[in-house]
Amino acid sequence: MVVKNERKRYLLVEFFGQIPDKRDLVYALRNNVATLGGQLALAQSSLHVVDIMGSFAIIRATHLSRDLVEASIQLLKYNNTIPVVRSVSGTIAKTRKFHQSLISQS
């Protein structure tokens, strides 16, 4: 039986101020997604913090819940940290490449 994989989106998020640790970030994002869309939306979003690299984080979600996850990132409240979504991509390789290019620019 052929099962089509669900389409993913990888969001590269940069933080200004104190950088949250992975556990806090996951907890806060899950909370926000559940507040905005409910538990069903949270389950459908397949939300996962892939990696935290310095002031950047890679967050994975399904392409259908991308808007919801992007909105919940904006609502993040963690010691006055300001999050900004730098890029959204369909592959993690591209996201990492973009991250490298951002680092090399700065």
Binding site: D67, A71, Q74, V85
Partner: protein, 214 residues
């Protein structure tokens, strides 16, 4: 990207603006207090601070000092005045006035008079916002902002509350108010036109003077 900011400006502010790639920012400040940089000034008149009579009187004077003039109506009379007056650029939607004011007819009037509508999304930042969101949803059911330029804001009074315009657009997308009309270029076009008006290059609506010598 255009974002509104209503709080005090500090060195930290410049850093945050650079981080968020905001270019330019709409600051609610007097022009003399404006810091150096690509910032624009806006004035928001609210009935809480002055009655409608005083708002009407002060508009002509303020038009010469600020890049954008906004009105936050608290009564239907002010909402009607804000929709028809040529000096007003932005009308902030006040969900408390409800459907009796913000209906399809009002939206049509805003389109005719070339106004920008401002949606306050600050309620999203509260823990429980369904109570505040409900009146907005009711207004949006009949008040289709498809043909009106939209400015999204979260009324940041602290630097830490500033968000990128794309971030606000993602919040607006949940309500269905983020479309081509919510692009910041509409606001920048309006600012360009107002700068020309302040300089005196547009003496009457529809008339533009080129190559005027001082």
């Amino acid at each position: 990207m255009v974002c509104s900011y209503f709080g005090p400006v500090s060195d930290h502010f410049t850093e945050v603006v650079r981080f968020l790639n905001l270019d330019p920012v709409l600051l609610e400040l007097a022009i003399k207090d404006l810091p150096e940089g690509p910032y624009l000034s806006r004035l928001t008149l609210s009935e809480q601070s002055m009655p409608l009579k005083r708002i009407k009187r002060s508009l002509s004077h303020q038009r010469q000092s600020y890049h954008l003039l906004a009105i936050e109506p608290k009564t239907p009379a002010t909402a009607a005045f804000a929709a028809r007056d040529n000096r007003v650029d932005i009308v902030r939607i006040n969900p408390r006035l409800g459907l009796t004011t913000f209906n399809a007819r009002y939206a049509k009037r805003l389109v005719e008079n070339d106004k920008i509508i401002e949606f306050d999304l600050s309620f999203f930042f509260n823990k429980y916002f369904a109570h505040d969101l409900r009146p907005v949803m009711r207004i949006l059911e009949t008040f289709h902002p498809d043909h009106i330029p939209v400015l999204l804001t979260n009324l940041p009074h602290k630097v830490e509350h500033l968000r990128s315009y794309k971030g606000l657009q993602s919040l607006g997308r949940l309500l269905g108010i983020t479309n081509k009309q919510s692009h910041p270029k509409h606001i920048l076009q309006r600012v360009d036109r107002n700068i020309k008006k302040i300089k005196g290059d547009i003496p009457f609506p529809g008339v533009e003077v080129h190559g005027r010598q001082e």
